[in-house]
Amino acid sequence: MAEDSITLKKLREQFGDSIIESHSRLGQDTAILPKKVLLEAARMLKEDPTLDYNFLMDVTAVDHFKRRPRFEVVYHFYSLNHNHRLRLKVPVGGESPEVPTLTGLWPSANWYEREVWDMFGISFQGHPDLRRILMYESFEGHPLRKDYPFDKRQPLVGETE
């Protein structure tokens, strides 16, 4: 087994018991964390000088329809100075899935999280402006969910008002 990268080592030191899984398959560091340590971990990723993740490159989600918990919020981080990347995944589930927002640390989270909310219906606790971004306000449901009825119709814009 290959030597673990510094990021995974640090994460394991800090959150040893709570890390659900970590590996670096295909040379890509991946850590799965519970949502209660997300903010703490994200702050460490940004502020620890040996990690120094200054880019939050991408936020997206995956709908594992049959699995429990159902969703995974996926964050991709990049550090310019150290040239390393990390994928952080947070499983969420339940009737109204929710994770804390990262807008306080990276402003780029703002629109990404709006998009995840719009497409998956995962809401972000503490987000300053959690509106739909791609769909219109009266749109029902979240299109990238696996159980979204894509062959049904939607109300037209403004029809419901």
């Binding site: 398959r25 295909l26 890509q28 991946t30 200054n54 880019f55 939050l56 490159m57 991408d58 997206t60 995956v62 709908d63 996926v74 991709h76 990049y78 310019l80 040239n83 990347r85 994928r87 990276w106 402003p107 780029s108 703002n110 629109w111 990404y112 497409m119 971004i133 791609l134 769909m135 219109y136 299109p143 990238l144 894509f150």
Partner: protein, 461 residues
């Protein structure tokens, strides 16, 4: 000073008129778009104005309702390529290769060297045409119509080149998992060298028209400024980030397709304003021309696609002539039938043993003339078979013309991708745009927005 944005323009204007004489002044709401000559696509900028100054703004990105990510879940991996064409319709080849790279990484495929060089070559041609469009269009929005015409003329030459290689100008679908659709045409090198030389002249000509032009300079200098730190926090990459002084380029930082073997510079600006973004784009085109020349110099002979065992296939086998009926006597040929498909004969044909075959589509002539190739063809094309990356996930960043273009694919082991996520480079720039515009004037919205190089197909996927 009222801080809330009044939602309706007429209402806001009316209020403004009524309160003209009173001491209390209100900000005005101005809608730019969704159909405005200088707005690309259905973007709407709701700007809150204090006189000519933008005090705040809200950006609606609209929706094309293509649903790229959803569509990809329905089709097979190969069927995603036509969708990736339409992400960035100015440089679709980059999107194609980026998607192919991600699937190849999941499957552990290494494409042959000739294919890598072809990919680099086509990537850079696309990058030049993308920058030509962006600079040309934003110059036109500032009144420089000549520059637009000159640049589109050069783009036309490049697109003719692309057309001769891929058979189409925009909807190219040229990449394949494990290779490219077809080899370069015979006379490609000569034509490409000529086009590149002519394009370089056009770039210099346009540069001399714009660079020291008083009107252009005054309208883009110190306009739409963003600091390197702020750009990073917003996740901005590409020319937009480099113009503010940070030299991050995926081709240098995490090279793919053999970019580490090419000699080129990453231009970096200083001020992060629209003028620097213009300069960075112009310099990037010159660097791309350098890369194209190097790629043409080194273009190795050999196959362009991998076969299932990771071995190489000769390009002649990939010729698509049979489809057009140009193969002599094809229809009268006898098919080479294997007497016992699962029996002894299979050992002599390891390359076409159906179980182990991953991403290899046999040549059409083979498909028409022997049963193993026909089976292999079906094994790749039929629903429920197809290309199957192992279970897992992968994110591959590449340098698109606008910045980091990444594909994140989750595979559940079937021939349909479970989830495809495209990280579009102009999305974070649009997120930061409202902050960039605040403090500038109404007229500054246009050059700033032009320098974003917003591509709607990519923005809302």
């Amino acid at each position: 000073m009222a801080t809330e944005i009044v939602s309706d323009t007429h209402e806001a204007m009316e209020k403004l008129r009524i309160q003209k004489d009173s001491e209390d002044t209100r900000t005005m709401m101005l809608n730019m778009g969704p159909a405005h000559p200088a707005m690309h696509g259905v973007i709407q900028i709701k700007a809150e104005l204090d006189g000519e100054m933008v005090r705040g703004c809200d950006i609606e990105i609209g929706y094309l309702h293509r649903g790229f990510e959803k569509e990809c879940e329905v089709g097979t991996y190969t069927q995603c390529f036509p969708y990736t064409d339409r992400l960035n319709y100015v440089s679709p080849l980059i999107n194609n290769f980026s998607f192919a790279l991600c699937v190849e990484k999941m499957m552990g495929l290494e494409v042959p060297e000739r294919c890598q060089v072809i990919r680099v070559l086509m990537n850079e041609i696309s990058r030049i045409s993308d920058h030509l469009t962006c600079v040309g269009a934003s110059a036109m929005e500032l009144g420089a119509f000549t520059v637009f015409l000159y640049m589109i003329k050069a783009r036309e030459w490049l697109w003719e080149l692309v057309e001769s290689v891929t058979g189409a100008r925009l909807t190219i679908s040229y990449a394949r998992i494990g290779g490219v659709k077809a080899d370069l045409p015979k006379d490609f090198e000569g034509r490409c060298r000529k086009v590149i030389k002519d394009t370089a002249e056009v770039i210099e000509e346009c540069d001399s028209l714009l660079k020291r032009n008083r009107i252009f300079y005054d309208r883009v200098k110190d306009v739409g400024v963003i600091s390197a730190q702020r750009a990073m926090e917003y996740g901005i990459t590409g020319p937009f980030l480099r113009a503010s002084g940070t030299g991050y380029d995926v081709r240098k930082a995490q090279p793919y397709s053999g970019y580490e073997n090419y000699d080129f510079d990453v231009p970096v600006g200083e001020n992060g304003d629209s003028y620097d973004r213009y300069l960075v784009r112009m310099e990037e085109m010159r660097q791309s021309i350098r890369i194209v020349e190097q790629a043409l110099d080194r273009l190795p002979e050999g196959p362009t696609n991998v076969d299932p065992q990771g071995e190489l296939i000769s390009p002649e086998l990939m010729a698509d002539l049979g489809k057009f009926g140009r193969t002599k006597g094809l229809l009268t040929n006898e098919a080479l039938l294997e007497p016992t498909l699962e029996g002894s004969g299979q050992r002599q044909r390891p390359g076409i043993a159906a179980e182990s075959v991953d991403a290899w589509i046999p040549a059409k002539e083979q498909t028409y003339s022997n049963i193993e190739a026909l089976m292999q063809h079906f094994k790749i094309v039929m629903d429920g078979h197809g290309v199957r990356p192992p279970k897992g996930e992968c994110y591959v960043p590449t340098e698109g013309a606008n910045g980091e273009l990444g594909f994140y694919i989750v595979s559940d082991g079937t021939d349909h991708p479970y989830r495809v996520r495209c990280h579009p480079p102009c999305f974070p720039i649009m997120a930061a745009l409202s902050e960039i515009l605040v403090g500038d004037q109404v007229a500054d919205i246009i050059p700033t927005f032009g320098s974003v190089n917003m591509i709607a197909g990519e923005l809302d996927r």
